[in-house]
């Protein structure tokens, strides 16, 4: 909480990092038991690439001698069980929600040139690998009637969100800005209408619609009329930058 207060006047990126840091600091705000459990088991799991869909697919595709495969499956299964079961995906970071939204100022984003050069290391949104955050984003996407224009990501009055095309950039920071600032041709600004924590959840969900998050964090079908293939059953799209709306 304290450090967030100071962060109020930082710019967006440092704030994102700060939020990430909070993820690892979270345990200090969490009950002791969690602290023990998490630090002993997942304290080190901060690498953002501990799960790589491509590797999983290649593994599934590979057909070496059966015994090798059995052995490797068993091994991978155990690793998968321990790591994938893990931390980042299964957190319920309620306190980070407070943290991420403890900021009244508008994020100052790098001036965005569609399809242009990209900063060296793309920032990661707080909830990008967090199944709960993504699911919250999905809930808010309906609650705040984003579907009114984007029709569950299929596109209507607004552009589709589940395809490969990114008009204003596919990086979390871009999506964040799109939501907070709005865009020409109809995307309204939600500044001061949606708290930043929830914007980040929406960002994570928007990413998940075209498979830009770990497959095991993807949402599945909702308890409502089926409108399209559930997120976790879609093919992951390779982002394509297009300037034109």
């Amino acid at each position: 909480m304290m450090c967030m207060a100071e962060s109020n006047h930082e710019d967006c990126f440092t704030d994102i990092k700060l939020t990430e840091d909070l993820f690892s600091l979270r345990d200090t705000t969490a009950p002791n038991f969690v602290f023990l459990a998490k630090t002993s088991w997942c304290g080190s799991v901060t690498s953002k690439h501990w799960f790589d869909p491509a590797r999983m697919r290649s593994l599934v595709a590979a057909q070496p001698r059966w015994d090798l495969r059995v052995g490797r499956q068993a091994f991978v299964a155990c690793v998968v069980c321990v790591l994938l079961a893990a931390c980042e995906r299964e957190m319920r970071p309620f306190q980070d929600v407070s943290a991420a939204s403890a900021r009244t100022q508008k994020p100052i984003l790098s001036p965005l040139s569609p399809g242009g050069e990209r900063p060296p290391e793309p920032p990661l949104s707080p909830f990008q690998q967090n199944a709960w955050g993504i699911a919250e984003g999905k809930r808010l996407f309906d609650a705040y009637n984003c579907s009114g224009c984007h029709a569950h990501g299929g596109g209507g009055m607004g552009p589709p969100l589940m395809d490969a095309k990114w008009i204003y950039g596919d990086r979390p920071a871009n999506i964040f800005e799109t939501i907070v600032e709005g865009r020409p041709n109809g995307m309204p600004s939600f500044r001061n209408k949606i708290p930043d924590s929830q914007v980040w959840q929406l960002v994570a969900y928007v990413q998940s619609m075209s498979g830009q998050v770990p497959i095991d964090a993807l949402p599945s079908r909702g308890d409502h009329m089926r409108y399209s293939t559930p997120e976790n059953a879609r093919r992951a799209e390779q982002p394509v930058q297009t300037g034109k709306p």
Partner: protein
């Protein structure tokens, strides 16, 4: 059989018993034949029912301790109002894992494990039927349990309750993989439980010693038989429902989605159609333990054998007719509900009959009170409370108030701990000499009983009143104004005693295992066959397959008890008898140790866990699974039963 001509019949005759040397030679050869392999690979290849059974029991108690620790954490959290020791997220994971583990990884498996160890000995067989399947089911159980334990440790344990009601446990409201781990844990444990059930039924029906007709079956075996049938008929329901859940979450099917023609109540019907028999699957074996212990420590045949056996069977049937009494508050049609009230009340009649029969046995007998007996007597004091509160729960109006309150928590802990865990611990104290060849410390055992007894009632009796005061289940905290603090504190205090009792039990068992006094073959002068062999039993269980002459096999046997002869001792040949009269029918050879069941279980585990994350796990693991199974069932070099093979039998030994 057309080509076999008239069936060969066993020959009864008089002959001189084997002399010392012949007995020794027979013993040596049987030990060579039924060897338990050594070394790492050997250790994983064991198929012998005593070893597997002991591992099964130990593993189940391991999960019991883990889930007990979780319970202690819950009691700390609830000890005072507005406690911040555990957050809601962690508390939900903990109570879910506690319930799941106790039901699926302790209660059911430990009872079946006891059956795996005892039933073959009690019916006079040399191993359990389908021994390799037995090893396989143990490893599946172990891996499934380890999976759930791991998820608890990495903060991704299921958090939707041990009953995993949809839609809360469904794809929309439990993001991540928590519910999927729960559902797959079900698959693991059910597959293994079903396999063991089939083995037990086959063993009880076809591997009994000659003379052990069905109406001479020990009551423990009766209850294991009923339990196995209940497992066979109830568990498919929960496998089905958890498969639906997994499919809903992984590939977006709509079984539980009302908006697309699915139904949320469907889950409750399927789950409770399993879930209520489940309670009896846990309770019925305990009835068998109680009958055995009472028979032994009153030194009289139990009173009303037929009544006891028949009421166990009746309970088994009625157990399937009452599931909806878990759903009285869902607004189902009134008429149907009243039927389930009737059924739920009727089911208490056979239990009542059993209790009266046992009281009659105690009345008639000459009771002795070592630790095992104390636990059984504690069962009476505790279980009857739970049974009666169960009767009150069957009344719809009353249930509408106490349903999902702490009254129910109190009720089923009285039923399950009083009805199953106390007899079970008693049973462990009772059979410990047979399993390990060492006595437990009886004084410590008695202390253990009193600590557990007091601690239990202190913990769970106040919960009845908390229920009346309106405290709902599964809340991670409660405001102090509700006035629930005192009783919760009392309950948490009792929990401390329960922990102490648990520690005493473990200490007693471990200490007796390493340093207990050596046990005689039949230290309690009990009546069932397992006490008729050495403690611990030799690898082949019985030197000569006995011929049973009465209901209380050891008490009723004549001076020179007749035995079976003519069973080959140079291969794992066993006698197969008829279902009803246990008349010798034929002989068959049991498979020996093999690593394949272990490999198969590893591959299956990889498949189950993989399918939590991707549907591709199925096509990928089909081939390895097929390979391991083929390797498992591939016949070994068949010279044993090829014509002209050397036939060395006890008969030849005798003639030698």
């Amino acid at each position: 059989m057309p080509t076999e001509g008239p069936r060969a019949r066993p020959v009864e005759r008089l002959e001189r018993p084997l002399d010392e040397n012949a007995e020794t030679r027979l013993h040596r050869e049987l030990e060579r034949t039924w060897y338990v392999p050594r070394g790492v690979v050997g250790w994983l290849s064991v198929v012998d029912h005593r070893t597997v059974g002991k591992r099964y029991i130990a593993t189940a108690f391991g999960f019991f301790i883990f889930a007990g620790i979780l319970a202690a954490l819950m009691r700390i959290q609830l000890a005072v109002p507005d406690n911040h020791f555990l957050g809601p997220d962690l508390y939900n994971q903990i109570f879910t894992t506690h319930g799941t583990m106790m039901m699926f990884l302790f209660a059911v498996p430990v009872m079946e494990a006891l059956g795996v160890y005892l039933v073959p000995l009690m019916v006079g067989a040399r191993n359990i039927a389908f021994p390799r399947l037995n090893a396989y089911s143990y490893y599946l159980f172990l891996f499934g349990g380890l999976m759930l334990t791991t998820t608890m440790l990495v903060n991704s344990a299921p958090d939707a309750g041990w009953f995993s009601y949809v839609p809360l446990a469904g794809p929309d409201y439990t993001p991540g993989k928590r519910s999927d781990f729960w559902a797959q844990m079900i698959t693991f444990t059910e597959v293994s439980a079903l396999a063991v059930a089939v083995e037990l039924v086959a063993t009880i029906f076809k591997c009994r010693a000659p003379g052990m007709t069905l109406n001479r079956l020990p009551l423990f075996v009766w209850s294991m038989l009923v339990t196995s049938f209940m497992v066979i008929f109830s568990m498919p329901a929960v496998v089905t429902s958890s498969t639906f859940l997994l499919l809903d979450r992984l590939v977006g099917t709509h079984f539980y989605n009302p908006a697309e023609g699915g139904d949320a109540l469907l889950w409750q019907h399927l789950f409770w159609f399993f879930g209520h028999p489940e309670v009896y699957i846990i309770f019925v074996p305990a009835l068998g333990i109680i009958s055995s212990i009472i028979t032994t420590f009153t030194q009289r045949p139990v009173f009303g054998y037929t009544a006891l056996a028949m009421s166990v069977v009746t309970t088994g049937f009625l157990g399937f007719a009452v599931w909806v009494h878990h759903m009285f508050a869902t607004g189902l049609p009134q008429l149907g509900l009243s039927y389930f009230t009737a059924a739920s009340i009727v089911i208490s009649i056979p239990t009542g009959v059993q209790i009266f029969c046992w009281i009659a046995s105690l009345w008639r007998g000459r009771p002795r009170y070592p630790a095992p007996m104390l636990f059984v007597l504690g069962f009476f004091a505790i279980f009857i409370v739970g049974g009666l509160s169960g009767v009150t729960l069957a009344s719809i109006p009353f249930d509408l108030q106490v349903h999902d309150t702490y009254y129910v928590v109190a009720h089923f802990h009285y039923v399950l701990i009083g009805g199953a865990v106390f007899p079970l611990i008693g049973g462990i104290y009772y059979w410990f000499p047979k399993m390990t060849g060492r006595m437990t410390d009886d004084a410590l055992g008695k202390l253990n009983f009193w600590v557990l007894f007091v601690g239990f009632n202190l913990t769970f009796f106040p919960m009845h009143i908390l229920g009346f005061q309106g405290m709902p289940r599964r809340i991670y905290t409660y405001p102090s104004e509700m006035g629930w603090g005192t009783l919760n504190l009392l309950a948490s205090g009792g929990a401390v005693l329960l922990v102490v009792g648990g520690v005493l039990f473990v200490y007693n068992v471990v200490r007796s295992y390493v340093a207990g006094e050596v046990a005689a073959d039949n230290p309690w002068n009990a009546d069932t066959l397992e006490w008729g062999t050495a403690s611990p039993p030799p690898v082949y269980n019985f030197l000569h397959i006995p011929i049973v002459e009465g209901r209380n096999a050891l008490w009723d046997r004549s001076v020179d008890a007749p035995v079976v002869t003519g069973i080959r001792s140079d291969c794992r040949e066993v006698l197969i008898t008829e279902v009803l009269d246990a008349a010798p029918s034929n002989k068959t050879e049991f498979p020996g140790p093999s690593i394949w069941p272990f490999l198969a279980s590893v591959v299956t585990t990889a498949f189950f866990i993989g399918s939590i994350f991707t549907p591709w796990a199925l096509p990928v693991s089909v081939i390895p699974i097929a390979v391991t199974l083929i390797g498992w069932f591939w016949p070994k070099s068949p010279e044993k039963d090829a014509p002209g093979a050397r036939k060395s039998t006890e008969l030849r030994e005798a003639r030698a």
